[in-house]
């Protein structure tokens, strides 16, 4: 570890904290339906969308209607992605002549992009056409992100409203999020990325003759426009197979820094939106502090592990840390930082190959996802995931002092706690369950690229990533088989919707409650005690659930590595 490395990390944190307030202010205005400086341009477009959709923007929805609308929106989204992938061979914008994608792979990919996971069992440049990248994938990058943010806003309304029957209008929230937040940011961002060297062209792959006279086919495409939303919307699905490690997806140290910022920007700002909407910004800062504590701890471990390198390679006289699967322009620190950010959020873009990380360096991304990606988290998803843990922590605190727990003026009762537990428990059921199935099936075991405990970690990582809707991978695992395409799709589906529906039920039930003023017996939820309590609950629940699986994978591998054992 170096001083300049830590300065880069702290600079990153400072920028995220500085952006939270202005972005939070802007987003609060957008979702309150107020005018913004973009209204003169965007308002006519917005009205036109409501007109053709038959949406009355002043009519709000009950939480159940809101959820049904969201689910119907996803059915249509699924059909578009699946259809475009199956038909790409006969559709335009296909200069590389890609043929139809297989049924199971198309199914997996459609679920993957719909759920904001962007797990990729295909290699972008070798499998799909430009049309699929744009119409199939870029569009869903926008809409799955907008959906996540809309749901978080609905949950916040549940906390902030009193004696209300409605939580907002899904169509309005999703449209306004797309038009006023995501699209303007992406337009500027795309141009910055092209300036840094990311291609944006519809031309065919380039045939080059190298200095030594060999032929090199260089894949290009409309890359920048997709990378912008892939990062900002915490989607993470790469245009190319190597994702943000590919020099065309992340060419410079500056593009890398901006991409890391864009992963956290909106998620961190949503904590400020929460504070503003419940009437006290300090409530938002307290949540961001919980996230910050867990984040810095993760960065420290991964950076230390990667800078120390692998004992096996160090024994050959190498120094300078673990550079296998990393790019020179990013080095150890920017690769470690990126890995922790992308798994703390539900992004899943990678600028280094996590499969080649040291055992402990790769364990932190795994833990980040297993905790439910609540450290900033996916846009929207991170906030509602964190609020579920807050409900639980408040409940535990209430038990300790023997009072009815309350949070931002709302009593937390049996219904909320049950729903929060349902959402928190269904996740380990999926990843531990499917991992257990996969490691006893010979055809699933055959997909592992590494032997020994590392192979087990590859499988555990895959199901964790899918269930947590992350999408990063220990990429050695051959995921494009019938078994993995289907089981990973089921993990992504359950991980997304069995979290969303309980969260929405909580939103509806909270909105109906009266708001009670804080009294002498109310636990203050803006101070250090509260932050410590939530961090503790997260680590205890996470630790108890996952420690056995981690012991079989990365922990035993770390012990083997320090002993110099190879498999």
């Amino acid at each position: 570890m170096t001083v300049i490395g830590w300065i880069q990390i702290l600079l990153y944190c400072a920028v995220i904290v500085a952006l939270a307030k202005p972005l939070g202010w802007y987003m609060t205005r957008v979702f309150s339906g107020e005018r913004t400086f973009l209204s003169p341009v965007l308002r006519p477009v917005e009205s036109a969308i409501y007109w053709i959709g038959g949406v009355d923007e002043r009519r709000e929805q009950h939480w159940l209607t809101y959820t049904v609308a969201m689910l119907l929106f996803h059915v249509g989204g699924f059909l578009i992605i699946y259809g475009v992938m199956r038909l790409q061979g006969v559709l335009p914008f296909n200069p590389a002549g890609q043929s139809a994608v297989a049924e199971d792979l198309s199914f997996n990919t459609a679920i993957s992009f719909l759920t904001n996971t962007n797990w990729q069992n295909y290699g972008g440049e070798s499998t799909v056409s430009y049309l699929v990248q744009m119409l199939g994938l870029t569009h869903q990058n926008f809409l799955s992100a907008a959906t996540g943010i809309a749901l978080a806003i609905a949950l916040i309304r549940g906390f902030s409203r009193a004696s209300a029957r409605t939580v907002g209008n899904f169509w309005v929230d999703v449209t306004r999020c797309t038009l006023y937040v995501l699209l303007p940011l992406c337009i500027v961002y795309t141009l910055v990325l092209v300036w840094q060297g990311i291609p944006q062209t519809l031309g065919p792959y380039v045939e080059a003759t190298t200095l030594e006279g060999a032929k090199q086919t260089i894949a290009v495409g409309p890359v920048a426009s997709q990378v912008a939303i892939k990062m900002l919307g915490t989607n993470g699905g790469g245009f190319f197979n190597a994702n943000a490690a590919h020099p065309f997806e992340n060419p410079t140290a500056l593009s890398n820094f901006i991409q890391m910022i864009s992963i956290f920007a909106l998620g961190a700002a949503l904590t400020n939106v929460f504070g503003r909407m419940v009437g006290n910004q300090r409530q938002g800062w307290a949540i961001l502090a919980v996230m910050g504590v867990l984040f810095i701890a993760g960065v420290a471990v991964t950076y230390w592990a990667e800078a120390s390198g692998s004992n096996v390679l160090n024994a050959l006289g190498l120094t300078g840390g673990n550079m296998e699967g990393k790019e020179v322009r990013f080095g150890i620190v920017a690769s470690s930082l990126f890995a922790v950010i992308t798994t703390a959020a539900s992004c899943g873009a990678v600028n280094a190959m996590h499969d080649s990380f040291t055992a402990l360096g790769g364990m932190i991304p795994l833990i980040n996802m297993q905790l439910g990606e609540i450290i900033v988290g996916g846009v929207g998803a991170g906030l509602y995931g964190m609020l579920l843990f807050v409900v639980l922590a408040i409940f535990v605190a209430g038990l300790m002092v023997g009072r009815t727990p309350e949070y931002v003026g709302k009593k937390i009762e049996a219904r909320e706690v049950k729903m929060a537990m349902l959402a928190i428990l269904v996740l380990p059921l999926m990843y531990l369950g499917w991992t257990a199935v996969a490691v006893v099936l010979p055809q699933a075991v055959a997909s592992m690229a590494n032997a020994g405990p590392h192979g087990f970690t590859e499988v555990l990582y895959a199901y964790t990533s899918a269930t947590a809707n992350n999408g990063s991978a220990f990429g050695g695992l051959t995921g494009n088989t019938f078994f993995y395409n289907l089981t990973l799709a089921s993990s992504m589906f359950v991980g997304r919707f069995f979290m969303i529906i309980p969260a929405m039920a909580i939103a509806g039930s909270l909105a109906e409650k009266k708001s009670i003023p804080p009294s002498a017996g109310t636990l203050p939820t803006t101070g250090g005690l509260f932050v410590g309590l939530v961090v503790g609950v997260i680590l205890i629940i996470g630790g108890l659930t996952f420690f056995p699986a981690l012991a079989l994978g990365p922990i035993v591998e770390h012990l083997a590595m320090t002993a110099g054992t190879v498999f």
Binding site: L72, I80, L318, A359
Partner: protein
């Protein structure tokens, strides 16, 4: 609930058209006008022929060129399309090795490369990036140490004084952005082009 079906179709279609077609196509037009070179892939031409991209690494095996990092990219086996064969710096199929820290295959490969490099230049410690594969398999850069390590071999193959080659390396070395972000690095293709130019005007 049935009332939600109409917006589920039409709001979706409208937003899909905007974000899935209008946005990427408009950005393609604007980017092509404002940053034409980058939008096309930062291509480098010599004597009217495309010789590669400034951002994409290419394979160098000849002693007279600086070599890039090992690359783990593959291509479909021409004899059996269900299998793949190694194809370093295949820019149509980026990928890393994905070998973990306790992989015997990785340890063996690195040991072999370390031994080879030690024989080539016993005076210097082997730089780690010269024996590890990059994440994309297309890393255009090596560390300044990795470039300096190769100076004796390149100078000998080109019959140039080592100091001359070392000066070219120094010139091709990029520092951290504002002294802070990223890592010092040398673009291998740019260095080799400079080397060719220097040799031609010797």
């Amino acid at each position: 609930m049935l009332k939600e079906i109409r917006p589920a179709i039409f709001v979706l279609l409208a937003l899909t058209l905007i974000t899935g077609l209008l946005y990427p196509l408009a950005m393609t037009v604007v980017a092509g006008a404002v940053f034409p070179a980058q939008a096309e892939g930062s291509l480098i031409t010599r004597n009217g022929q495309v010789i590669g991209s400034a951002l994409i690494g290419q394979e160098f095996k000849d002693d007279k060129y600086f070599h890039g990092r090992p690359s783990a990219t593959t291509a479909a086996d021409p004899n059996d399309s269900t299998k793949t064969v190694p194809a370093p710096y295949n820019a149509a199929n980026s990928s890393g090795s994905n070998l973990g820290p306790t992989s015997k295959a990785l340890a063996d490969r690195v040991k072999e490369d370390v031994d080879k490099l030690k024989a080539e230049n016993p005076a210097q410690a082997v730089p780690v990036d010269l024996v590890t594969t990059s994440a994309s398999g297309l890393d255009p850069d090596i560390s300044p140490e990795a470039a300096l390590f190769q100076v004796p071999r390149v100078a000998k193959a080109r019959s140039l004084p080592e100091d001359r080659v070392r000066a070219l390396v120094a010139k091709a070395t990029d520092g951290r952005l504002i002294g802070l972000l990223g890592e010092p690095r040398v673009n291998v293709l740019a260095l080799n082009l400079a080397l060719d130019a220097a040799t031609a005007t010797k």
